[in-house]
């Protein structure tokens, strides 16, 4: 018993244990979202989706995962075996590394570093390399197309995304995600989308720009996780399945997991930037570390739901239109907002 206590007090063991918290969360969340996406999609389309395994098919995600684990792991003969096997893990690592700085609750954050949001942006850019690797190693023209599109898309949409983040950073004056959240504490009126915790005049002036920045970040985050209407890298009607066409079994599951993890990640960032992170909408009521984890996950899941909802509503953009949206619509608006916010914050 004593050894165990000693072991737990060892900072290295502790940090290893802490590092496993997000993966447990991701696995559970992925199962829920897998089920949720199918159900939301089905009900939008007047269908029922899973109904057979368990009550309303609740056990189906487990069955799906089991199936993927059992499946034969096919590596095409002409593929580059090493890079082909490496790519999905690289993609997942890129996503997973970003979870280190997410403040899940007032009592838990993997690493409370000052550059939190910048680190998050940097870590998610690792994903691009993994995607390029998978497309090239598959030795399939459609896959290569998909991964090149994906990389171009992620790199372009990072610009408006980061500019939107910059706007928020200018308002809050910090890049530490925990501090960002704490600054929005104290009820729904202090969330940045409603102007933040400022004097009334400043608050009212901030609201429209915050709203525009929120939309900009939401759109660019959707592009970064390759969701409809920006799902060109895996556009099934054009590129079959894009960069993960040749993947099967466990490797495909990892891609899938990374995609879902990324989806939550960007939703969480939206929540932290504009919707007060883990703060309760009722001020101190329903606060505390446990409740705050609840609020954080609930808010995150709401934006995951919005993503899913949009996915089953909208058609897909074309490559040039995708670039048009990024460079000619989102980026100018974001720059305009930044200038305006600068004025507001200085005056």
């Amino acid at each position: 018993m004593n050894e165990l206590k000693l072991l737990l007090e060892n900072p290295i063991v502790m940090s290893v244990l802490l590092a496993f918290v997000p993966i447990v969360f991701i696995l559970v969340y992925a199962l829920v979202t897998l089920y949720g996406e199918m159900k939301v999609a089905a009900h939008i389309q007047n269908r029922l989706a899973y109904m057979e395994n368990g009550w309303h098919g609740t056990l189906q995600p487990f069955a799906d995962i089991l199936k993927l684990l059992q499946k034969e792991d096919i590596i095409p003969t002409a593929a580059d075996k090493f890079l082909f096997s490496l790519a999905p893990y690289l993609v997942f690592v890129g996503t997973y590394a970003s979870f280190a700085v997410l403040p899940f609750s007032s009592g838990f954050i993997g690493s409370n570093i000052d550059l939190g949001i910048l680190y998050l942006v940097a870590a998610s850019s690792l994903v691009v390399v993994g995607l390029l690797m998978s497309g090239w190693a598959s030795n399939n023209k459609w896959s290569l197309f998909g991964s090149l599109r994906s990389a171009a898309q992620i790199v372009s949409y990072e610009i408006p995304g980061v500019l939107a983040i910059l706007g928020v950073v200018m308002v809050l004056g910090t890049m530490n995600m925990q501090t960002m959240t704490q600054m929005q504490d104290g009820g729904i009126q202090n969330w940045l989308i409603f102007g933040g915790n400022f004097a009334l005049g400043q608050k009212l002036a901030l609201i429209p720009f915050m709203f525009i920045l929120f939309v900009i970040y939401l759109l660019s985050s959707m592009a970064e996780v390759n969701r409809t209407p920006f799902d060109l890298p895996e556009a099934e009607s054009e590129l079959v399945q894009g960069y993960n066409t040749e993947y099967s079994g466990m490797k495909f599951a990892i891609f899938y997991l990374a995609e879902y993890a990324n989806l939550f990640l960007v939703s969480a960032v939206v929540v932290i930037l504009f919707f007060g992170g883990w703060t309760s909408p009722f001020g101190s009521f329903m606060g505390g570390p446990v409740w705050s984890a609840f609020w954080f996950i609930m808010k995150g899941m709401f934006f995951v739901f919005v993503n899913i909802w949009l996915r089953w509503t909208l058609p897909r953009l074309r490559v040039d239109q995708l670039m048009y949206v990024s460079w000619k619509v989102l980026t100018p608006f974001a720059l305009f907002c930044i200038i305006a916010i600068g004025f507001i914050m200085v005056v």
Binding site: A122, V128, N139
Partner: protein, 174 residues
């Protein structure tokens, strides 16, 4: 413990840099460059240069490496895997590298390095504030000059990219 992590990152950096240089497959070289950048970022973290580490990842991995990969993938035959890089001009290369190595070695020797007696003495502290204030006070001029140069580069790139299509439109309208 910190030593182990340091040697790990150092090994990753040097090993992957070796792959970059010696690999016959240019795509492998490009991908190995990723691990080199990653290892360097890790070392920056160990040196408490967190802003630098993050920027390293953001700019080198997210920007420059992707650009290199794009270049490699779009210019070489993508269908077959055997993309070979040839060794050319061995003698000039060796001499240039030797000169560079000498320069670096001289620099390392002459610099008065700050050495801490105890690694754990170094407490985690952020550098972003210092960098930020340094950039807009003492180093304002180089910072502004760099941004002007970058702006010129962007405008120039836009001009060069645009010229062709303008020409095409003119020829189309004729």
């Amino acid at each position: 413990m910190y030593e182990i992590i340091f040697y790990f990152f150092a090994a990753v950096t040097i090993g992957s840099a070796g792959v970059v240089v010696f690999s016959r497959n240019i795509v492998y070289s490009a991908f190995a460059l990723f691990f080199t950048f990653f290892g360097v970022a890790g070392i920056y973290v160990l040196l408490n240069a967190d802003f630098l580490a993050v920027t390293q990842l953001l700019i080198y991995v997210g920007g420059i490496l992707v650009l290199i990969l794009f270049g490699v993938m779009l210019t070489t035959n993508t269908v077959s895997v055997d993309i070979k890089a040839k060794s050319l001009n061995t003698l000039p290369a060796v001499s240039v590298v030797a000169a560079l190595a000498g320069l670096l070695a001289g620099m390392i020797w002459t610099t008065d390095w700050f050495m801490s007696k105890n690694m754990s003495e170094i407490t985690a502290q952020t550098t972003s504030k210092e960098i930020g204030s340094a950039l807009i006070t003492t180093h304002l001029l180089p910072f502004e000059v760099a941004s002007v140069v970058l702006l010129v580069a962007i405008v120039g790139a836009a001009m060069m990219a645009r010229r062709e299509s303008v020409k095409t439109q003119i020829s189309n309208s004729k």
